[in-house]
Structure formats: structure tokens, C-alpha cells
Amino acid sequence: MTTQSGLVRGWDGPMRPYDLVKEGAVAVVVIASVVIALALAFGSPKRTAVTLQEWATDDPIDMATTTLGELDGTSATATYGPPYTADASDSQELLGVSPARIAGVSIPINAAEDIILGPLSTFAPTDPELAAAIDAYRSSSPTDISAWGQRYRSSLATAEIADGSLVVTPGDYGPLDTLVEHVVTLAADGSFTGALIDGRGGRPAFYTLDTTRSMMFLADGAYFDQLATDAGLAGDQWGAMNTLDNWPGQWWLGPFSVWYQFPPGSTSANADLLIAVIMGVLTGGVVFLPWIPGLRSLPVRSGFHRLVWRRSTR
């Protein structure tokens, strides 16, 4: 009888010498060597973050259109619902249940104030035209803002850039055109980003660890979306598991990403919630597999075990 007899549940057969510690040590050395070699040979995907300045420079009309959306309440952020805004009419739901609605607003964002007017206000003391436009917006009715917004949006669709400035058909846009043009100009020279950093009470903060408002603004535009699509990262391009160029991404998210490639995952307005539920059920099935009769018998039918244990079965 060996020293390890009885230590393996369900096995009273022969044992053989084994060095677990040496195996582990060798494994660490081998894995570390492989990883270091891969890092030396290939590096890793690196693409610097997109800035508001780049956006304003590369596609000022898209930034202008997005800014208008924040101001007239039509942007994705302004209409998102919980956790950002109180209007939960567009929140995803399944069988009448909306976890987002139940959770409520936990990251409050007033798109017009927090993304546009608050940051612009920091420039108002030295810009009377801007200060007047901000005051005019804040004293305007939602009806007027909506009407100006519709007219200005139509003009932006045919806007041009001349000498670095946005040129639109003259019209009655209230203070919207002034506000939008200031955002694009300030973003292009890099000064809007600093004003947009999150702070308590709407004032710019000193430290920046929360990029929510900057990112929601950027993500509201078509420019950012197009960059991702060009890089093959969109949702219908297996984006959840994909990454830049030919680099391996988070390929282990394949079982999650696959559901977005065909209906209803690719078409439903409730796709994220639906797929989260599907993945929850599948994950539960895997985690609790040993307790599920019938299902726990399936893997054995592959015959893979005969390949692994053929020596011991002879």
C-alpha cells in the first residue's frame, strides 16, 4: 500500500510518483516564457483614445449635429432612460419587466446642462455673445427649443466648412447655432475637453477619473461609431469579442457575441436584455450542470473520455 492510498476518492488502484510542486514551477516558467516571447514578437494592440479635438477637426458637422441633439433633447443620451435620465419609456424590457426601470436613475445626466451648457459656461465670463446665448437657451421654452432645433438640424444636413468655420443657411435658430458653433470651435482647439470633465455641482473638477459625460457625448455621434465600424468592432461584426485589426480580442465572449449576429439579437430594441437572460440561463446551466439530470449525461456521449483514459481501460 502506497503512502497516498485512500486519498483519491473512487480509486483504489495503482499510484505512481508525481511531483506537483515541480510541475507547477515548470508550468509557470514555460507559460511566462511563452507570454514574454509573444509580447516581444507582437506587442499588443495600441490605438490612442479618440479625442473631442479629433472629432471636431475630422468631422465638425457630425459634432455640431450631436451637440444640437444634446441641446434639443433628441440625442441618445438625452433619451436613454435609466440609469441616466428619468424617462424610462425606451428602457429595455422582457415580458413587461424592465430591470433598468426598476433600478432607476443612478448616474444622472442632464444632456443639455451637463454636456454642453455647464462646460460652455466656463468660457462665458470672457465671451459676452456666448453668455447671452446660454442665458437665452435657459430662459427658452421646450417648444421654442424644439422648433429651432428642427430648423437648425435641416440646415446642418447641408452645412459646409469654410476657413475652419461651420457655414449653414441663415435662419431662425434661436441661440442654438451660437452654442453649437462655440462647442465645435472650442473642441477643435482642445479647450472644451477640459471643461467637460465631471465635477460635483456642475463645476469642473480637478481630478478626472470619471469620463461618463465625455464618452456619452462622443458615443452620441456618428463619427465614433464609424471609427469602430471601420476597425471591425461593431456589434454585427462580432464586436463584443473582436478587437483591432487581426489581434485576438476577447474571443471567450463568442458565446455572448453570437446572439447579436441574427434576429432577434440583431434587430430587437430589447436585444441586450434578451441576450443577458439567455446567457444567464446558459451560464446557470453550466455552473449547476452536475445537478441537472439528463444534461449531465450528455458530455459523456462524446466518447472523448476513451481518448484520455484508453491506457487505463486496457
Binding site: 507559460i31 470619471d210 464586436g239 441586450d272 455552473v287 459523456v300 484520455v308
Partner: protein, 206 residues
């Protein structure tokens, strides 16, 4: 010295460990003869990858989350950590599929399976928060997409992918604590019951 049975937790724990011969099991220098297939390398490969991730992660933490943007050494260590993630999940996926096809929850090893599966589940957000901590274009895009899934299930209050500070602390502190704990418990349970015998020798059918 009088020992009132069950009243001294230390005594109870020590006697449990002695009764189970836990030290002998943890540091066993013998294995059943069926432990000789290449399949048994995937588990130790996963643990070894995790060790490499922890070491490279500690070095990255010392440099801070911006280090890889400002230093070539930082960039290299970041690449080591990045490839470590790829090798970790490759080993983990092979290990998980192999254990699934071998039905190694047999013979009273269901908790072993549960702990390993939970570790796999926790590893996914651990990696995700790492990608979110990179502060590059990829981070921006992943964050903008992840928020929709997180918000749809009502967890926006718990995990805001745009809050870089929070994602870094999730990735460096919170999730590794949970992951390493689950992996450690999983390994203890594997050693506690021993490697699952071949199907024809199992105590119970799957």
C-alpha cells in the same frame, strides 16, 4: 487539559484537517496511474497563467494605469499582461471543455466543478475591466458598448464602464480577490478529492 468537544473552533478545524489528511492531499507526491494524459496539463497551465498575470499585474500597478502610455518598459509589461490574458483563457477554455467532456464532477466532486465554473464566470468581468482600464480607443469602444448590456440588466449603479477609476479598482483589487479565492478553493477541492477516476471506475454514473 480538558477539551470541550466543538467549543474550540481552532481544535475543530485542526482535527478536520488532520482527519482529512489535507496536507497529504495538497502536497501528494503520488497520483493515480491514469493521470498521464496531456489533458491534465490544461489545469496547471491555467493556474500558471494566472500567476504570470498576477506578477505582471503587480508590476503594472506599480507603474500606474497610465504607465504603458508613457514608457516603453510599461508598454512591454502591458503587452506581457495582455498576452498572459490570451494564454490564460486559452488554457482555461481547454481545461473547462476537457473537464466537461470527462464529466469530472463524478464521485462527489460537484463542488469542485461549481468552484471552477464560478471562477470562469468571474474571470470574464475581470478581463473586461482590464480592457476598460487601458485608456485607449479600445477602452472607449468597449465601454460604450458594455454600458448598454450593463444598463439593460439594471446594474448601471454597480458598474459604470466609463468610470475609469472604478474600473481600475475593480480590475486590480475587487475582482482578482474574488477570482484568486475561487481558484484557490477550486485547487484545494481538487486535491481534497483527488483527480476524478475514469468513467468505468467512478462511484456513480453521471
Amino acid at each position: 487539559m480538558t477539551d470541550v468537544a466543538g467549543s474550540n473552533w481552532t481544535t475543530v478545524l485542526r482535527r478536520r484537517i488532520e482527519r482529512e489528511r489535507l496536507v497529504d492531499r495538497l502536497l501528494a507526491d503520488e497520483q493515480p496511474v491514469y493521470v498521464r494524459s496531456w489533458v491534465y496539463l490544461f489545469g496547471v497551465g491555467t493556474v500558471a497563467s494566472l500567476v504570470v498575470l498576477i506578477f505582471s499585474g503587480v508590476v503594472l500597478a506599480m507603474g500606474g494605469p497610465n504607465w504603458h502610455h508613457t514608457s516603453s518598459v510599461g508598454e512591454f509589461v502591458d503587452s506581457v499582461h495582455w498576452w498572459g490574458v490570451q494564454v490564460f483563457f486559452a488554457s482555461l477554455a481547454l481545461h473547462a471543455v476537457a473537464q466537461l467532456l470527462l464529466a469530472t464532477w463524478r464521485g462527489g466532486r460537484r463542488i469542485t466543478w461549481l468552484l471552477g465554473a464560478l471562477a470562469f464566470v468571474v474571470a470574464v468581468p475581470t478581463a473586461l475591466t482590464g480592457f476598460l482600464s487601458q485608456q485607449n480607443f479600445e477602452s472607449q469602444w468597449i465601454a460604450s458598448q458594455a454600458k448598454d448590456a450593463v444598463d439593460a440588466v439594471g446594474l448601471g449603479w454597480l458598474m459604470n464602464p466609463f468610470d475609469v477609476g472604478r474600473m481600475v479598482t475593480f480590475h486590480v483589487v475587487l475582482l482578482p480577490l474574488v477570482l484568486v479565492s475561487l481558484v484557490a478553493l477550486h485547487v484545494v477541492w481538487v486535491r481534497r478529492h483527488g483527480v476524478c477516476p475514469p468513467l468505468e471506475r467512478a462511484e456513480e454514473a453521471p
